[in-house]
């Protein structure tokens, strides 16, 4: 029987030669990633209650990223508890204030094609850029994973999304996802989305990770991209040797998908999603005509604060300044990215233009740290989700866009099409 990539991964993880769509399987978990926000503080009391430990201290990865750096005594207590948990259970891989979990997983070589990984965060789908299964689960379910090393899954159908051709100027992977949120809707539960086509082939890993990250916005179980040379290079760059069979993790040529969509990247324009849903998207050109003034522009999150995102910001800001009517906040996704952007001059361009650099972490993305907004304030953001109240006051407004569009809007003081400035 021909199988999709996700079927192959689920077969291996459940110890079967093949699996059928709709079948319920129990999978062995290769990596369980838990975070300060819904990790130890929720899971530890439950482990104590059951009187058990973690199934494998080498396979449980802990990242402190949501509440860092502590801005109040409650956050400090949550972080302390996270550190104590790591000591208590001898957790081998702990990333404390190193950056946002999904980026950390990639930077440190934890992701390999074919793996079955669970994360305590909905954007865990980002890991699928490496050709593995990685999906998000709540802390209650992660408790089960951390105790047993197993989880149930429905074998899911795959939606295949192909993009062909090259982007026109000022268009990015982020624009693809804002476009797709509208096109495919946000309700694709218990389905995987596999991205392919020449556009995706030509993307760097950082761009591919935007696609799989925002598969979460499509409501999908996960997003996946079959590994190729670019994938293997990224794994090596992270200091790990790819498994010898790495490139075999791909859908069979005659595998069947529940839906196939073909798009042409050349026709795509920069996109913006209006409050309060990522699927409220249209071209930036259209939003520009509405003359939407912004109080804040935010660059950050797992999806939108990577090195290439900061490079896009610098490309727009070089020789210009942030409008005095607004403020630009920039939170690089990880400490390593911060260091790279500092040494290659990117941060200098941003700060010279009047941008403010924030620590690496989830920060304002989910309303947890520095950069939240007040009632009636409007923010344009390179993050992935703009639900009501996510970035602060429940009566504030967040527009989503690519780093180009966010930076260009910061210069203009209102939402604009970035192509004028690059």
């Amino acid at each position: 029987m021909s199988q999709t990539l996700i079927q192959k991964i689920l077969s291996r993880a459940s110890g079967k030669s093949e699996v059928k769509v709709g079948e319920i399987v129990t999978c062995d978990v290769d990596i369980a990633m838990i975070l300060d926000s819904g990790g130890p503080r929720k899971i530890w009391p439950r482990l104590k209650n059951l009187g058990v430990g973690v199934f494998d201290p080498e396979k449980v990865i802990v990242v402190a990223d949501h509440f860092v750096p502590a801005a109040d005594p409650q956050s400090a207590a949550i972080l302390k508890l996270t550190r104590d948990f790591v000591k208590n259970y001898n957790i081998k891989h702990f990333y404390d204030m190193e950056g946002i979990c999904h980026v950390i997983m990639a930077e440190n070589g934890h992701l390999q094609p074919g793996l079955f990984c669970c994360g305590g965060d909905s954007h865990s789908t980002m890991g699928g850029a490496f050709g593995c299964y990685m999906a998000g689960f709540g802390a209650i379910e992660m408790t089960g994973v951390v105790v047993t090393g197993k989880i149930w899954s429905v074998v899911m159908d795959t939606i295949k999304v192909n993009w062909e051709g090259s982007f026109s100027r000022g268009v990015t992977a982020k624009d693809i996802m804002l476009f797709l949120a509208k096109k495919l809707g946000m309700e694709n539960a218990f389905k995987a989305v596999e991205f392919g086509g020449s556009t995706v082939k030509n993307m760097s890993m950082q761009e591919r990770m935007v696609l799989t990250n925002m598969a979460a916005e499509l409501g999908a179980e996960t997003g996946l991209i079959a590994p190729d040379k670019t994938t293997l290079e990224a794994i090596r760059l992270a200091g790990v040797e790819p498994q010898t069979n790495a490139l075999s993790w791909k859908s069979d040529d005659d595998a069947s998908f529940c839906e196939t969509h073909n798009f042409n990247a050349e026709n795509l324009l920069p996109q913006v999603a209006a409050p309060h849903k990522p699927s409220n998207s249209a071209s930036a050109e259209q939003f520009e005509q509405e003359n939407i003034k912004i109080d804040q522009a935010y660059i950050g999150a797992c999806v939108g604060g990577k090195l290439n995102d900061l490079h896009m910001v610098a490309r727009v800001l070089k020789g210009k300044s942030v409008s005095p009517k607004t403020r630009l906040l920039v939170a690089p996704s990880s400490k390593k990215i911060m260091a790279q952007a500092a040494s290659d001059g990117t941060l200098e361009i941003i700060t010279n233009a009047g941008g403010i650099i924030l620590p690496s972490g989830c920060g304002a993305c989910a309303g947890l740290g520095a950069g939240v907004i007040a009632e009636k304030e409007v923010c344009i953001s390179s993050t992935n989700r703009n639900f009501q109240g996510r970035m602060g006051s429940k009566d504030s407004f967040v527009y989503l866009a690519s780093p180009y569009t966010v930076a260009a809007s910061a210069v203009a003081g209102k939402i604009i099409d970035p192509r004028e400035l690059i």
Binding site: G138, I140, M186, L368
Partner: protein, 173 residues
């Protein structure tokens, strides 16, 4: 879900109600009762204040879309909501709700239920009676492979039982 039959008043919501309005990030550091007191306040400020134990949340498509935060499902549990019926669920919310032993059932035409209607649900049989309008409706029951877990009261009691019975191997603390 120890007691089988659930009876309560309907609280009716629309499509795509997201996790962030169920459990707003700005209350993440607070205790669960504080968090729950803000559940859905952005769309219905009276809900968390007036919902009674056993009341039933009725919603449209893709209920719980968004974040993995278990507080979204746990808030309803904290408010002692008896069950949720929705046209469809976001997957993490659905899994979280069932793991907390909170029945999350699927029902296609929630338009037959109006706010404050008195409902009676048998989640095992998949039956719903609208006592106000006297309409009987079929809802899809809890999936079979999760029945054991749900009837133990959720994932934690289920794990406890499995560990005590020696059915799953665990590392001791």
């Amino acid at each position: 879900m120890k007691e089988k039959i659930i009876r309560g008043k309907a609280w009716v919501f629309g499509d795509e109600i997201n996790s962030d309005v169920m459990a707003p990030g700005i209350y993440f550091k607070e205790s669960m009762d504080v968090m729950a007191s803000h559940c859905l306040e952005a769309i219905d400020p009276l809900f968390a204040k007036e919902v009674k134990p056993g009341d039933i949340v009725v919603a449209g498509r893709n209920f719980g879309v968004g974040s993995a935060r278990e507080q979204a499902a746990l808030a309803f549990k904290e408010l002692k909501v008896g069950a949720i019926i929705a046209k469809s669920y976001a997957r993490i919310f659905y899994r979280n709700a069932l793991n907390f032993g909170l029945p999350a059932l699927v029902y296609n035409s929630t338009s037959e239920i109006k706010p404050k209607d008195e409902l009676l649900i048998d989640p095992v049989k998949g039956e719903l009676k609208n006592l106000t309008t006297k309409i009987h409706i079929n809802v899809s029951p809890i999936p079979e492979h999760l029945m054991d877990m749900i009837s133990s009261g959720g994932l934690m009691p289920f794990l406890r039982k499995k560990i005590d019975d020696g059915e799953i191997k665990v590392r001791k603390e």
